[in-house]
């Protein structure tokens, strides 16, 4: 997951999906294509043009190009020819591809729920304006701002046998003898990476849920309190149902983030040992830039695009249906 990109995406997606539902928010001025004397339409167009151009050149063109390449035996240098769906067949026959798909799914399955639960708990802790709660929000969010690549480098140091903090801590707690070589063992490395990710990105879920929680009217809780319900009951019967939308939103975003995971694996294990910790984006990267099989790599990319776009579509649909 590329962090900052995802934060930005979170916000804009949320907004894109919500905005059209806010009544009376959208139509500031009467709709119409014609500009006015003070606001000539040509100026509007000129202002928007550079941004639109960037999107065309650096997103839409490569997108179309991806489809094209995936149907050819594209080499980095030299000529190429159309080979139809051969690349897709190659990918489909490649056990490494399926291993990467499976690994990505396992990784996603492991981290998604803990991120949601931890993010939820964080939001519960900081939602009331108690002394220090602003500071806590900052602290919860800090790892996310620092970014996964930097944290991964630091974790490499702390995962070393005998000297790394992870081992020192486990030894101090008498759980292990502190000699574990985390990063050269598939399941152990996966566990460590998952722990790092849960720790690092829960803060973003917290932020999403927090703004949802703060928009629940206080009276709802007060009347529930009068009815004598317990705290747990109030969370379960009031907060969670009212947060359905931010919760599904954060789930979807964290699933997309997990599907696109790269840095932490590249840096901490390089995908190894063997292929044991290779998620799909790392598989694509290796296929394209190490094995130089651009066509096959791009075919895998196209599949990834379709999957992620489908999830995004579900997300937009969910948000729309809720209103």
């Amino acid at each position: 997951m590329t962090l900052s990109d995802t934060t930005a995406t979170t916000v804009a997606r949320t907004r894109a999906a919500t905005e059209r539902h806010i009544p009376g928010r959208r139509k500031r001025r009467p709709l119409g294509d014609e500009g006015t004397l003070t606001h000539p339409s040509s100026h509007g167009l000129l202002l928007v043009l550079p941004a639109a151009l960037f999107v065309c050149v650096f997103v839409l063109a490569p997108l179309v190009f991806a489809l094209y390449i995936s149907l050819t035996n594209w080499p980095l240098i030299g000529s190429y020819k159309f080979i139809g769906l051969d690349n897709y067949a190659t990918i489909g026959r490649d056990p490494a591809f399926w291993q990467a798909v499976l690994y990505t799914l396992i990784y996603t399955a492991i981290v998604t729920l803990p991120i949601l639960v931890l993010g939820y708990l964080m939001a519960v802790v900081v939602r009331a304006n108690r002394p220090g709660s602003t500071l806590l929000r900052t602290v919860f969010f800090l790892p996310y701002v620092i970014g996964l690549s930097t944290l991964s480098f630091l974790m490499v140091l702390e995962a070393q046998p005998n000297s790394g903090a992870v081992n020192l801590l486990l030894k101090a707690l008498h759980i292990t003898d502190g000699t574990t070589a985390w990063l050269v063992n598939g399941p152990l490395a996966t566990g460590l990476i998952c722990a790092l990710i849960i720790w690092a990105v829960s803060g973003s879920t917290m932020v999403l849920l927090l703004s949802g929680m703060q928009s629940i009217p206080r009276e709802v809780y007060e009347s529930a309190q009068v009815d004598g319900s317990s705290w747990m009951a109030r969370e379960w019967h009031i907060t969670i149902p009212m947060l359905r939308r931010p919760i599904s939103m954060s789930l979807i975003l964290s699933v997309i983030g997990s599907f696109l995971a790269f840095s932490q694996f590249f840096i901490m294990t390089g995908g190894g040992p063997g292929r044991d910790t290779t998620p799909i984006v790392l598989y694509i990267y290796q296929r394209a830039f190490v094995q130089l099989q651009v066509g096959a790599a791009t075919a895998a990319s196209v599949i990834l695009i379709v999957v992620v776009a489908a999830i995004s579509a579900v997300q937009f649909w969910l948000l729309r249906a809720e209103d």
């Binding site: 202002l47 639109a52 190009f65 004598g228 791009t298 196209v302 776009a309």
Partner: protein
């Protein structure tokens, strides 16, 4: 199990709570407060201590980081690693490259997004819906998935192995978010304010600088901050689009360091390099948190 139980109504002024006695509400508040402080304490341990630990690591010699802790040397802290980093030409240049790329992205994204936000937020023109949809598409297409075609395209445009290429790419990645933020910022400017300036004879650009700029400045700060942080921490794109060592940004140079490309892997340098990558994020985030939160809550679920 915690369900909503039918409360037993009594003559007490304070409503009774399930299974509770009088004054339960207040004692629950106290329990909550104690739990809160407990959570705060745990937070410090779980979230602050690791960061301080990393900071300390960057001040330890590499040999100490790599060895089992020994009380006699563990707290021999010095800035030698950072001096080593300074002396390591490639690493030092990488920090410079990162600064150039992050600042360039920050400026270009803010410029493009402000223009687009102005256009979408305050003008009506044919195709505005399509153009906005176009920019929205960027959000649905993860750049991780179009890396190969993008690489081929950028190298055809001679934009690989180029900091400019990286800036253009990062700016596009951040553009959708920025445009959203800026469109909202421009839309929330009251029409009257702008019209007054227009009637005084200001043109599109003049109105922006004289009237709109101070009003949309917070939005611009949000956009700039997000763009800077995104460019500073980005890894996959830089790794893919840069092959010349003298152009590496900090995260990519750290990979080299980690893999021992610059000679024997020195844990001290790796720690110091990572902390160098970390510190600007922490400082910027804490200093400009207001704008960061504004960006996030601008996208929050108000519906």
């Amino acid at each position: 199990m915690a369900t909503i139980a039918q409360p037993t109504r009594t003559t007490r002024s304070r409503p009774r709570r399930t299974g509770g006695g009088s004054g339960k509400g207040r004692s629950e508040d106290r329990v909550k407060l104690i739990l809160y402080w407990l959570a705060a304490f745990l937070t410090v341990i779980v979230f602050v201590v690791p960061l301080l630990w990393f900071l300390m690591r960057s001040l330890q010699p590499g040999a100490v980081i790599a060895a089992p802790p020994d009380a006699s040397s563990f707290f021999d802290l010095s800035t030698d690693n950072f001096r080593g980093l300074r002396a390591q030409g490639d690493m030092f240049r990488a920090v410079g490259n990162s600064i150039i790329v992050a600042l360039g992205t920050c400026v270009l994204t803010t410029l493009l997004a402000t223009m687009a936000g102005y256009g979408f937020g305050r003008f009506k023109f044919r195709g505005s819906g399509i153009a906005f949809g176009l920019i929205l598409v960027t959000l649905m297409i993860p750049f991780q998935a179009i890396l190969t075609p993008l690489f081929i395209q950028l190298s055809a445009m001679r934009l690989t192995d180029s900091l400019l290429g990286l800036v253009l790419f990062y700016s596009t990645v951040n553009l959708a978010f920025g445009t959203f933020v800026m469109r909202t910022a421009f839309m929330s400017v009251p029409d009257g304010l702008e019209e007054a300036a227009r009637l005084d004879g200001s043109g599109t650009i003049g109105t922006f600088f004289h009237v709109l700029f101070p009003l949309v400045m917070p939005g611009m700060a949000t956009t700039a901050l997000f763009a800077f942080l995104a460019a500073w921490t980005e890894f996959l794109g830089a790794l893919t689009f840069l092959t010349r060592q003298d152009l590496f940004t900090l995260p990519v140079a750290l990979v080299n360091l980690q893999q021992g490309t610059y000679g024997q892997l020195d844990f001290g340098l790796l720690a110091a390099g990572s902390v160098t990558a970390m510190i600007p994020c922490v400082i910027l985030f804490i200093a400009l948190q207001r704008y960061y939160v504004a960006g996030l809550s601008a996208g929050s679920l108000k519906g």
